[in-house]
Amino acid sequence: MALTREQMAQRVARELEDGFYVNLGIGIPTLVANYIPDGIDVMLQSENGLLGMGRFPTEDELDPDMINAGKQTVTARPGAAIFSSAESFAMIRGGHVDLTVLGAFEVDQNGNIASWMVPGKLIKGMGGAMDLVAGAENIICTMTHASKHGESKLLESCNLPLTGAGCINRVLTDLAYLEIKDGSFILKERAPGVSVEEIVEKTAGKLIVPAHVPEMTFEEVV
């Protein structure tokens, strides 16, 4: 069975390490914050200028001057820092963020990512995504493995205009967890009940399949 959005977030959350500064994009990446493992503390960076993003506010805490990069009202946790956009992207571009998680339309075997623009459709902009992919050394892309029509999104070469070149090294799809290395996808794990054959079939880019591909396991989350 393909992973649910929640399971994808859970799987990504296992890549978090204690003391990581993490930037979570909009969509599934945002859900990762709900599954931070016990005993692990991470600090969330929001690129509009907040390091140490906290929970959503209560009605009493609600403050129009306190938002995240998704423009949602948020709070700051104790020990947070707030700064300008230039400082925020100095952090990002300078490689100080330990892990970035973001969605994508396509990735390819050379680590290219397309996530912001579909020609012919209305283009709203890249926001901070280009800076995030250029700046982070450690990026996980979350995406569906293939389109609804079964077309692979893990390609030999991206078709859509890029967000960044050669910058992605890990992908979590609804079917598999893969690494990108030396011009290939490497299949590391598969979703529960998903066969290696299905993943092979739905991966258009070069795919290396090790002898043993473990199945992901998920505990029931309360």
Binding site: S46, E47, F56, D65, Q72, S85, K124
Partner: protein, 232 residues
């Protein structure tokens, strides 16, 4: 206005000198920390053919979205637009030129403009449509593109507190692009919630030193929320 007293007492005075065809650099992220009354004054003045540099372009009927109603903006440099129907329509009709600029590059272009750095290299955008036509150079084995600084005829900024010398502090994440915008205007206008006496702001805690600021005005603010998210 004598010495360092930069206060003005009407929005008309605050935006005096703005003309058709000028470039306006604006602070704000989404609707957070936007100079809402200065924007409203630009609307009132009906100046046209403006080039606007701002991360976003407001929403229908608020923020920079107001300037779309009478087609006052000819060109905008932004990282994310189209949160409003009017913008989409003008974009589709080619009535507004949109130069999409990565958010970090936009912030750095404003900072560079204020700081006398005419251009800088960044890896952001290399290999993407943003890098097309731009000079590429390798540093540390990695290709980077050359990006040029930006300055404006006016910078419009929203602060929290200021003294009459133009020293400004920002509140929470309403800081965002405001400090860089403040440095990059030939004339920098800052609207704030409160004007305090010189010496009330701790010198080492000032976000925007007064040297960058030409006019200060105290206003009241609607502070519209774009995405209200609460927990119970």
């Amino acid at each position: 206005m004598a010495g360092f007293d930069k206060r003005v007492f009407s929005y008309e005075q605050a935006m005096e000198g703005i003309e058709d065809g000028m470039t306006i650099i604006a602070g704000g992220f989404g609707l957070c920390g936007i100079p809402e009354n200065l924007i409203a004054e630009i609307k009132r003045r009906r100046v046209k053919d403006l080039t606007v540099v701002s991360n976003n372009c407001g929403v229908d009927g608020f923020g920079l979205g107001l300037l779309l109603e009478d087609r006052q903006i000819r060109k905008i440099f932004a990282s994310y637009v189209g949160e409003n129907a009017l913008f989409e329509q003008q974009m589709l009709n080619d009535e507004i030129e949109v130069i999409l600029t990565p958010q970090g590059t936009l912030a750095e272009k404003m900072r560079a403009g204020g700081a006398g750095i005419p251009a800088f290299y960044t890896a952001t955008g290399y290999g993407t449509p943003i890098g097309e036509g731009k000079e590429v150079r390798e540093f540390n084995g990695r290709p980077h593109i050359l990006e040029e600084a930006m300055t404006g005829d006016f910078a419009i900024v929203k602060g929290w507190k200021a003294d009459r010398y133009g020293n400004v502090v920002y509140r929470h994440t309403a800081q965002n692009f405001n400090p860089m915008a403040a440095t990059a205007g030939r004339i920098t206008v800052v609207e704030v919630e409160e004007i305090v006496e010189p010496g009330e702001l701790e010198p080492s805690q000032i976000h925007t030193p007064g040297i960058y600021v030409d006019r200060i005005i105290q206003g009241s603010f609607e502070k519209r929320i774009e995405k209200r998210t609460v927990r119970s």
